[in-house]
Every structure is written in C-alpha cells, then in structure tokens.
C-alpha cells in the first residue's frame, strides 16, 4: 500500500469576524492557495477526490455537502462531507489514498462562527435534550467540571493552566494566521472574570473565522507535486461514551486511545522521546495539559510542571502549540484540528517563519470535538 503525504497547504488566516467574504469565497481562497502550493495543480483535472469537513448546524444549511463543490473546483467530482473534526477528515483522506483508487485528495475545513448569532445555543444542541438541556446554563460548564476533576486528580494547578494561556497567546503573536495573539501575564489570566469555575474568561478559546485546505497524495505522485512532502505516518480516532453522567472526568481517554492507534501505525513506542513537538487541542487551557498527558508526551500529573519549567515553550525541549494553539489562533469550529495539522506541516517543512523550531522531524497533531464530546483524533506526521 502506498504511503500518504501532505503536498499542499492553503490558509486564509483567522479573524474574529469576516463580514467581507462569504463562506464560499473563504473556502475558494484557501483552496486556491493549497492547489498552488501543491505544484499549481488544477482541481478540475488533477484531484481525484474531495473531502469537506463541516457540520450542518454550524453552517445553518442542511446537507451542506451540496454547497461545497463549486468553491473547491469539485463540480462533477468525487466529493463528500465528513461531519466531524478535521483530523477525522484527514484519516478519511488517508484511507481513500490507501485504497489505491485515489492518488490525490483535497481536504477542506473552515469555520465561520461569526455567521452564527446564537453560537452557544447551537453548542448546547449537543447536550442531551432529555437529561441535560432542561437544566439550562451555558454548555461550557462541562469544561469547568472537567478542569476541576482533572486538576484534583493529577495535581496540576490553575496557575499552570494560566501559564498555558500566556505561552500560547505569546506564540500566536508572530503567527500571521492567528487571531488572538497577545502579550499577557499569568496574573492576567488568573484575574480575568470567572466564567465556569475553575475556568476564567482567558482560559477559554474565542471563536474565529477562517479556512484551510490540504492536498494529500500517494507516494507515487507526492514528489512530483512537492519537493518537500510531509508524510502521514499514522492516524487514529476514538469516540468514548457521550454520557456526562458516566464518563471519565479526569483523563482524556479519547486522546490516549486515538494516539495509541496512531502511534502504533507510525511505529512510535516512546512518544516522549520520539515526538519532537506537538499541536494539541487547547480549547480550554487545561486541555493542553490533559492532552499532553493523554498523548504520553509526559507522565500523569507532569504536564503542568513541564509547562512551569518552560519545557513546552517554543524554545523548550518539547514545544507544545508553537502556532499559539486555539487560545492564540482562535476556535474555528470543525477546522480546529486543521489548524493543528497546518502548523505541524509548516514546522516540518521549515516554513514556520520566526516561530520555526530547529531540527524537527516528527510532529503530532491532536484534536477534540469540543463540548460536550469525548471524541478525538490524532495524526503523526514526519518529514522523512
């Protein structure tokens, strides 16, 4: 079976609002950039299949698949939508190529939360309508409860979570794609308004609009399209139980198991030694620590300490979220995982500008589907 590489990336950049463009125009821009990056291919003849990652409720359009082909150059093409996070989309594109039926596959994801006037009401549709919704409240209290139990069981602290925020917003400052870069202190996070105890306002990622397209190719054609293909060494995804009443509240089991699947495929036995850097979901500050531990980049209860020691900084031994993560780049709904993938590709190519990490060969991208899910996906990428 052929290996699979990422040979093109295109990104619009992320902003808090984008009243100047429609979602279609946003997707067209990301696609145009990605196709040019992939050896200037034409989607009208050089791309065998297309995957768009989107969710009808986010879009406000039923059967959103039907609204996708034009702006990706996929009219009369083989296209479907994955209703999931974009790393689940990547897994699907990877499998399409692995079948041998497709050599070049385009993967698209975008978020335009500024089009949603009632964003958090739509988030709350994901809560159980019988057991949870009638109780009211903002659905992000789920994050507060999880943070509380996670800190209690692992000994990581609220201060260490605040350090994640300061680090990621700082990392985002030199990232031209990021919407929420800022030079802030740990104290600013700890003093920001309590939203869902122990989550404060600054512990929570803010919505952002933007789109990303990746072009994937089989090893047979990858080198023709890009001199520097980035190889997808392993993918994994897991769904736990959706039940808030019975799930594990301390550990991100979905991330641990998804990583297990991806590491196995990639032949990684000791991730803390073999992975050079990672982009992980940091929808909430504590999620970065929880996900680091689930990805076995450190031991249980060690993520906060490593953060405090500066190990996860851009100049540390194990940089986490050099892009700025979602805290720094923004939360673009289902495209959040695509932000993680994009940064891993740019870093492995050596194209990350002033935030470029030296000597990186293996990077991990991890996503979570957000409140109130226990679904996540992991991809292991390498440049050799």
């Amino acid at each position: 079976m052929s290996d699979v590489a990422i040979v093109g990336v295109g990104c619009t950049g992320f902003k808090s609002v984008t009243p100047d463009v429609s979602y279609k125009e946003m997707m067209f821009e990301a696609a145009t950039r990605a196709y040019q990056d992939a050896g200037n291919i034409s989607p009208r003849k050089d791309i065998d299949a297309f995957i768009s990652v989107a969710e009808d409720y986010w879009e406000g359009i039923s059967i959103f698949d039907e609204f996708v082909p034009d702006q990706l150059g996929a009219v009369m093409g083989h296209l479907f939508t994955i209703c999931g996070d974009s790393i689940i989309g990547l897994s699907t594109a990877y499998m399409l190529i692995k079948t041998g039926y497709f050599d070049v596959v385009a993967l698209e994801s975008h978020g335009k939360p500024s089009d949603l006037l009632t964003l958090y009401d739509v988030v709350s549709f994901a809560m159980d309508p019988v057991l949870n919704r009638p109780l009211g409240g903002h659905p992000f209290y789920v994050g507060g409860m999880e943070m509380n139990r996670f800190l209690c069981e692992t000994g990581n602290t609220k201060e260490q979570c605040a350090m994640v925020v300061a680090k990621n917003k700082g990392n985002a400052l030199p990232n031209p794609y990021a919407a929420y870069g800022a030079d802030i202190e740990v104290e600013d996070v700890l003093c920001s308004n309590p939203y869902f105890y122990p989550l404060n306002r600054l512990d929570i990622s803010q919505p952002a609009d933007g789109g990303i397209v990746l072009v994937l190719a089989s090893s047979e054609v990858a080198h023709k399209l890009n001199d520097n293909p980035i190889w997808v060494r392993g993918v994994g995804w897991i769904c736990e139980t959706p039940s808030l009443e019975t799930r594990c509240w301390s550990e991100a089991i979905y991330a641990r198991m998804a990583a297990q699947m991806a590491y196995k495929k990639a032949g990684i036995n000791t991730p803390s030694r073999e992975v050079d850097f990672a982009e992980v979901d940091d929808m909430f500050s504590y999620k970065e620590l929880q996900h680091m531990e689930a990805l076995r980049l450190c031991g249980k209860g060690q993520a906060g300490k490593l953060t405090e020691e500066g190990v996860t900084r851009i100049d540390g031994d194990l940089p986490i979220n050099p892009s700025g993560g979602m805290l720094g780049m923004g939360w673009p709904l289902e495209a959040s995982g695509m932000q993680r993938l994009l940064e891993v590709v740019l870093q492995l190519r050596g194209e990350a500008g002033s935030r470029q990490l030296p000597d990186v060969e293996v990077g991990v991208a991890q996503s979570w589907r957000g409140v109130p899910t226990t679904t996540g996906a992991v991809a292991v990428l390498s440049n050799c």
Partner: protein, 172 residues
C-alpha cells in the same frame, strides 16, 4: 390498519396525546439564528436588486455570463472577470404548482414556482422565482417569455423578494 384486523387490543395513541403530555416526551425549541455574510458576489447581486437590476458575473476563459453571480467560475476555477447587468426578462425552463405549504398544510391558492432562464445570461442560467398574473396555471408553457415585476424602489431592501414575481410578457 390492516383491512383484515378490525380491532387491536389496548388504546390507540393519537397525536393529541403526545401534544397534551399523556405520552412521555421532551419539548425543545432550538434557538438557532444566523446572519450570513453575503460576501463579494452576493453583495453585488443584492445591491443590484435594490436598484432594480439583476447582476451577473463574467468569465473570460469559458465566456459565460453567470447568474446568480459568483466570485469565481466553478468550471474554470478562477476568479470571475467582472460583473454585468442581465435583463429582467427570460423564458420558463421548468415550473411546478405547489399546493402544499412548508408545514405540509394544504394551500388554496397554489404557489407557481419556476426556473427562468434570463435573457443575456449564458444558456441554462437564471433565477428561481414565483410566477404571477396568471389566472390558471394551465396557461403556463415551457419557453414562455416572462418579465420581472419589481417592488416600488422605496420598498426594496436588497433581497430576492425585491422582485415580486415574474409575469407573462404577453397577455395570456
């Protein structure tokens, strides 16, 4: 109910039993509100409608004049080259007579919906709209010429409904 079985044991559940809470059920009214940015191409289209014009987009590569307009040509996968006004007359491509409203209730005055290929646009491109000033829908013919009936300019808001309907160009 099967014709052979005249009576089932037990009590038949009716819709009203659910509505009046005799059957366990949970009610939820979603609060989903959207405000889609019209963007580059659709903003021109909507602003055109406000002025009583139908705007199309042009692609030099394939030579098409496209309506509704778009910022990019989906066939050539490139940005469009410009925007032009299309005529507000056209021919009926296909139509239907809708006797049922969105909530599946019966409506007395059927809604006449049609795809109208607009004059000046490339073949097979036009607008989905309502037909009016037709007493009997049987008078509708394929290829029939129609013309837009606009709202007065002070009532136009930049919406597809700035056109009230399309009427037959010649009396039917």
């Amino acid at each position: 109910m099967s014709e052979k079985i005249k009576h089932f044991p037990g009590e038949q559940v009716k819709n009203i039993d659910v509505k009046e809470g005799r059957i366990p059920a949970v009610r939820h009214r979603p609060n989903a509100k959207y405000l889609w940015s019209a963007g580059i191409a659709m903003s021109r289209f909507l602003e055109g409608l406000k002025k009583g014009k139908i705007v199309g987009a042009t692609c030099k590569k394939c030579g098409r004049i496209m309506v509704p307009p778009r910022a990019f040509c989906e066939q050539c996968f490139k940005p469009v080259d410009g925007y032009v006004n299309i005529k507000d007359t056209g021919t009926i491509n296909t139509y239907s007579v809708s006797y049922v409203a969105g909530d599946a209730s019966r409506i007395k005055e059927p809604i006449l919906v049609a795809i109208i290929d607009l004059d000046g646009a490339s073949e097979g491109m036009g607008i989905l709209h309502i037909l009016g000033e037709i007493d009997d829908w049987k008078q509708i013919k394929f290829g029939m010429k129609v013309k837009a009936v606009w709202k007065p300019s002070e009532e136009r808001t930049g919406s597809i409904k700035d056109i009230k309907y399309f009427r037959p160009l010649q009396e039917v």
